[in-house]
């Protein structure tokens, strides 16, 4: 007989007395043999719990084997383990349950306090989760709305900027046109005054040969239409009325240059013209008389400055043309 068969018979009390004693002696002195006995004992208990024992063996287990409290406890443990393992759905879910559900679900059924705590804990977790999700959704919607508003505001800002730019350009254009019209009106008024003077002189009389016209400062030759002065053969002196705005000095100095920078005429001690209605209307002016014979066709510049100062009051531009 193998050792396991003998040990099984020993546990069930099936050995003769002398053999039983020999087995006891071997168990006391042979450590490995003793441990093998413990395994056979486990198997016997597992078979008893599983109902695999023959009736005669079952009776021997109940009458002899299970008399000791420690073996009774082991039988209980084997039975509980078998029940516990069989209540798990499958072997694989048992592993999953181990990983994700360290507390057996049946614990809920067997411990009311624990089950109540678990239910409350699960409820709290779900409730918190729902609140968090809802808040996230609301924040996402708000964010989308704000993003839309931001884009709309950006578009409006761009449109306004474009409109402002267009308005500014239009304003500049209008200002330029206004200045041109003012200049043109002044020219026409001067021509009208000259014609009136010419018409008022008797026929055959010696004409004065004066041609008066106004010039405003800062009119760059390249920045716009330059004042063109047509000098007829009858004109002997140009009376250039230089607008100076607010008069701060007693006298001024004027220098007339041609387009090559050559000084044609320099006049000192020029004073503001006597107050007249015309001057009052058009602002203060300095008169500069230029002999017509000095003005060949071409561009000219007048620099006006206070008599005793390097400060420049204004620069005046005009183009002279000869009438035939």
């Amino acid at each position: 007989m193998t050792d396991e068969v003998i040990l099984r018979a020993y546990l069930l009390g099936d050995l003769a007395e002398d053999e039983h004693v020999r087995q006891e002696e071997r168990l006391l002195t042979d450590k490995d043999y003793f441990e093998r006995l413990l395994l056979v004992e486990d198997d016997l208990m597992d078979e008893y719990v599983s109902g695999l024992l023959a009736p005669a063996e079952r009776e021997k287990v109940e009458k002899r084997f299970l008399l000791s409290p420690s073996r009774q406890a082991k039988i209980e443990l084997a039975a509980n383990l078998q029940r516990y393992a069989s209540e798990l759905p499958t072997a694989e879910p048992a592993l999953r349950a181990r990983r994700f559900l360290p507390v057996r679900a049946s614990l809920v059924q067997r411990s009311p306090r624990a089950s109540a705590l678990l239910v409350w804990a699960a409820f709290l977790v779900v409730a918190v989760g729902v609140v968090v999700v809802v808040q996230l959704m609301m924040l996402t919607r708000r964010l989308d709305s704000l993003e839309g508003d931001k884009q709309a505001a950006a578009r409006s800002a761009t449109e306004l900027s474009d409109k402002l730019g267009a308005q500014a350009a239009r304003s500049d254009e209008l200002a330029r046109k206004l200045e041109q019209e003012t200049e043109r009106r002044t020219q026409l008024e001067e021509e009208t005054a000259n014609l009136k003077r010419l018409l008022s002189q008797p026929p055959g009389s010696n004409q004065s040969g004066l041609l008066a016209l106004s010039l405003s400062p800062g009119r760059l030759r390249d920045g716009g239409p330059t004042r063109v002065i047509e000098i007829s053969p009858a004109v002997r002196v140009l009376v250039l009325q230089l607008s100076i705005g607010a008069n701060r000095y007693r006298s001024y100095r004027a220098v007339l240059r041609n387009d090559e920078g050559v000084v044609i005429l320099a006049a000192n001690n020029l004073r503001v013209a006597a107050t007249s209605y015309q001057n009052y209307q058009d602002g203060k002016k300095i008169e500069l008389r230029v002999p017509a014979r000095l003005l060949r066709p071409g561009d000219y510049t007048i620099l006006l400055s206070p008599a005793n100062s390097q400060e420049r009051t204004g620069t005046y531009y005009f183009t002279a043309k000869r009438q035939k």
Partner: protein
């Protein structure tokens, strides 16, 4: 089955500390080895008395040890041989005394109160959760078998774990020892038996 060495210091049967020390010295000159041998003899003697169908094998084991210790002066001087066998001889005498006193064989009953059953089951659940995942897996697979395919399923489990069937049995046995001690402690905490 773990032995409770504190019972060896009982004085109600006359085992004094001096006698206990002598007993250890007789088992082995090295005190640590002697203590290990002492625990071994307790466990094995208990199994011997269980094998005889005794209802109180631990008590009979203690009595055996006490009687050996009380005669040690005489034994140590004259006995030559394996000390465990001397214990066995004394144990056989004690069993004969026990069997003469026992009139009716006791009824085997492992029935317990329903509440205690539930508490033990809860303790099992708690103790299983304290096992390492591998040990928990092993013991549950070991017991999760169809009744008629137990041996086959163990072979399959052993193959799955990469161990021999015998090694599987040994591991399962040790895990059950751990679970048994854990459940006992759990029941003590709950005020159970």
């Amino acid at each position: 089955m773990a032995a409770d060495s504190s019972t060896s210091l009982r004085t109600e049967r006359g085992l004094t500390q001096q006698a206990f020390d002598c007993l250890l010295r007789w088992l082995d000159p090295d005190r640590d080895r002697a203590a290990k041998k002492y625990e071994d003899i307790r466990i094995r003697l208990t199994k011997v008395f269980e094998g005889r169908g005794c209802v109180n094998p631990e008590d009979l084991t203690d009595e055996t040890i006490d009687r050996v210790a009380s005669r040690l002066d005489d034994v140590a001087a004259r006995y030559e041989g394996e000390p465990f066998l001397y214990f066995h001889g004394v144990a056989r005498l004690i069993y004969l005394e026990y069997s003469r006193k026992r009139i009716n064989p006791p009824q085997t009953s492992i029935a317990t109160a329903p509440q205690e059953i539930e508490e033990k089951y809860d303790c099992l659940d708690e103790c299983l959760s304290r096992l390492t995942p591998r040990n928990r897996e092993l013991i549950l697979l070991y017991y999760r078998h169809e009744r008629r395919t137990k041996i086959d399923s163990r072979r399959e489990i052993a193959q799955q774990l990469g161990v021999s069937p015998n090694a599987l049995r040994i591991r399962a046995h040790r895990i059950k020892d751990v679970l048994g001690d854990c459940i006992s402690e759990c029941m003590r905490r709950r005020g159970g038996s």
